[in-house]
């Protein structure tokens, strides 16, 4: 197990290097000059040249990348061009908000998704099955920026139950978490339904019924546990989707997370910040998938890591 974890962590090194190369050169391919954005073009040519020199943008790209990697190896992500603050400090401020939001939306997705999936599987080809399937389809189809605004309109404006924006209270988390978790819930519902239906047709389920076990016990102990493996893998993948989706949801709900920081950084061509955020997201993605892999062993004792 430990060897497996160490191996996976080592794999992180080439992954991060590749991500850093891709991000660094891709953002330089996009038109737009951070100095121009910073000075809004009203500075003199000398002023722009001085700022470009201070920020190191007058050096060849390969040298700039080398400097970036050198600093990265020393744990330094550089300073934001836009705010002048250390990138790591800015990310450290915003990351907890995004993690809180993605974790909450993951809970929404799993609870809602599994419940709908189980209901649909148990009530196969009955009303509840169709209702759950249609709900799941709606969850996948609704764009989050629209769904979020509808939730704000209903729960903040008309019912006045929940705040439309901010991150100062626990209630502020509910609407963004539901918005962000909706599509993941829908996917989990569909997958758990089909997976559970598959398992429930197996011989051992028939045996369990023959033994006289209760239907809910069969469902929980024998059915769900076996059906969870494919669901778990999609949960890991969905986490990355949630990080991406947070970009939009955070803007709609004024949630001060990493997604909005990323949007601001991209629009302002804040290259060090964009790199820092993408690398952080990559680390989180790899770490979450590692955790999911390890969870397989817990759910299914047949899986062993050596």
């Amino acid at each position: 197990m430990q060897r497996h974890i160490a191996h996976r962590l080592l794999q992180l090194v080439p992954v991060l290097l590749s991500v850093s190369v891709l991000v660094f050169f891709m953002i330089h391919l996009v038109p737009g000059d951070p100095v121009q954005v910073m000075l809004q073009d009203y500075g003199s040519a000398e002023q722009a040249a001085a700022l470009r020199h201070t920020l190191g943008f007058d050096r060849p790209l390969v040298v700039q990348y080398g400097v970036f990697v050198w600093h990265l190896l020393h744990g330094d992500l550089g300073r934001s061009i836009r705010t002048g603050r250390p990138v790591a400090a800015e990310i450290a401020l915003r990351l907890p908000y995004t993690l809180r939001l993605t974790a909450a939306s993951m809970v929404v997705a799993i609870v809602l998704g599994l419940t709908l999936g189980m209901l649909a599987a148990v009530q196969h080809r009955r009303f509840l099955d169709y209702a759950a399937t249609v709900t799941a389809l709606a969850g996948i189809s609704l764009p989050s920026f629209w769904f979020g605004l509808v939730l704000i309109l209903v729960f903040s404006y008309y019912l006045r139950w929940l705040p439309p924006a901010g991150a100062d209270t626990v209630t502020s988390l509910i609407l963004p978490a539901v918005t962000l978790g909706a599509s993941a819930a829908a996917l989990i519902a569909r997958l758990s339904r089909s997976s559970l239906l598959e398992v429930l047709r197996q011989e051992f389920i028939r045996t369990a019924r023959a033994k006289g076990l209760g239907e809910w016990w069969i469902l929980y102990r024998h059915g769900l546990r076996n059906a969870l493996i494919p669901v778990l893998s999609i949960v890991g993948l969905q986490f990355a989707g949630l990080l991406g989706g947070a970009v939009i949801v955070e803007s709609v709900f004024g949630w001060p997370g990493l997604g909005r920081l990323a949007v601001d950084a991209i629009f302002n061509r804040d290259i060090p910040m964009v790199q820092g955020i993408v690398l952080t997201a990559a680390v989180i993605f790899v770490a979450v998938n590692l955790c999911v892999d390890l969870l397989y062993a817990l759910v299914d004792p047949r899986i062993r890591y050596v």
């Binding site: 002023q47 903040s156 302002n268």
Partner: protein
Amino acid sequence: MAASCGRAEGASPAGRSRSAPPQAQVGAPVAQNPSRAGTYAAAQEKNAGKSTMDWRGMTVARARLVCLLVLVLAVAAAAPGVGAPVRGGTLTLVLDSDPPSLDPHKTPAGDLSHYLIYNTLVTADKTTGDFVPELADSWSIADNGAVITFKLHPGVKFHDGTPFTSQAVRATIERLVNPATAAPGASWIGPIDRVETPDDLTARLIFKQPYAPIFSSLRIVFLAMLSPAAIAKLGANYGQAPVGAGPFKFRQWIPGDRIVLDRDADYAWAPKFFKNRGAPYVDGVVVRIVPDESTRVIAFERGDLDVLPAAPPSEAGRLVQSGKYQVFRTPVDGGLYLGLNVTKPIFSDVRVRQALGWAINRDEVVDYALEKLAVPMDSPLAPTIWGYAKGLKNAYHHDPDRARRLLAEAGWKPGADGTLQKDGRPLAFTVWTYPLETNVRVAVVLQTQLKAVGVRMNIEQIEPATLLARTAQGAQDAILISYGWPDADILYYFFHSSRMGSTNRVHFSNPDVDRLLEQGRVTVDPARRMEIYRQLQEMLLQQAPWIPLASLYTVTLAQPWVHDLYVDKYGDLLTNDVYLRK
């Protein structure tokens, strides 16, 4: 996109910066009348005492009358806008994005959070827009404008307790122009040579040559006064714990969520136009950061926000018509224009450029695309900008026949699909604009109007950083963007040939225009300077590198419980008289 002290080409953000020029129409609240409010309160006290004294000798009828009067006065006192100011409460404002920094030397844009923390040497009068003292008590101009001597207000202290003296003026300006600071706003101080400090309360700004727009610059955030002690202590981290001499002290900034400010109890130097020249009535200000405009509007309608600066145009009309809120309409200090890249073959013929000027119906643009929250613009300068000249003889109005004649003279003939053609090429171009609802709506109206005279205009939406970079290189046919700045000197940036490759996006070069732009910068005498800009506007209209379209209003809304708020001619919130009574 955040406006850089109003100069940025783009949309006005929520809580726009101090930037607008002296303007003809000021946003005025619809509710309260402070002077009457005071009278009512005083009358109530007086009458209350009298009624107790005379009660026994009164007839029943007189007693009833007095009761009625007391009741009326009590109701009047409870009504919004009536009564003495109330201390306490938190004023909640909103911005659409975080300021890049709260250090005025590290931000390309000033927003309301800066102006609550910092004060400048001069400010603008709340009604006339004239420059009036803020941290300076008076000033004198010598050497044809190359030397300006400020007498500073005594007894001013920064939030860290450092006294405000001429040393602070020098430290602030030296930090601004120091290349190591890399301040985005460094160029706006003009050709400054040095700052002399003959005594603690006298600061002398000495320029290498006269710089006529200096007072417009002196009131913006880049020239907000900084504490020398805090500069020495905080250095590049000044923005993390900003220290100013404004009415509110910095307490906390949760990026992406809110900026929290506390009232400075020692503040006693508010400009004379405030009724309250001391510390603000409210305990503090919370500036919420809400990027989505629909969410901002809902938060305001729920009452989570006390003030909604720069209401989105799509919602402003509905909110105003609801009659629930105080409304402040402020014309902005700039406007939307269609900029034609004169180096492109299609626009190298001045007759084609002029034809577009005649083909466009600005009234339709204002009525249909801008929901009447704008005024048509007949000059490259908006009517609110200093230097705007009325009655320009080269101004365009809607005359499609004249447009068609000019295009025919230029050799363009009707093609099969209705688009004019010349040498087998259609009269077609692509306009680049920001993906903003306002801009796109205007573009669609223009597209229809130009089609009517045989010109095909395609619309392409491009995000700001890309548009800035590619238009500086001259890659575009035309642009549809906006600008803002209170002084006519802004034309220097847009049309001087030395600005080619940056802000001269139309790649226009004309020696006569260059000469006038240079004269306008150094001519201090207002009448002579005005004449220079009048000639310049005529010349630019005749050459038509820009087709001016419309100057937009900013609509600021306030809740009924916000009393004595004022939005000045520059679109700034004046908060020192504000008190909250819910």
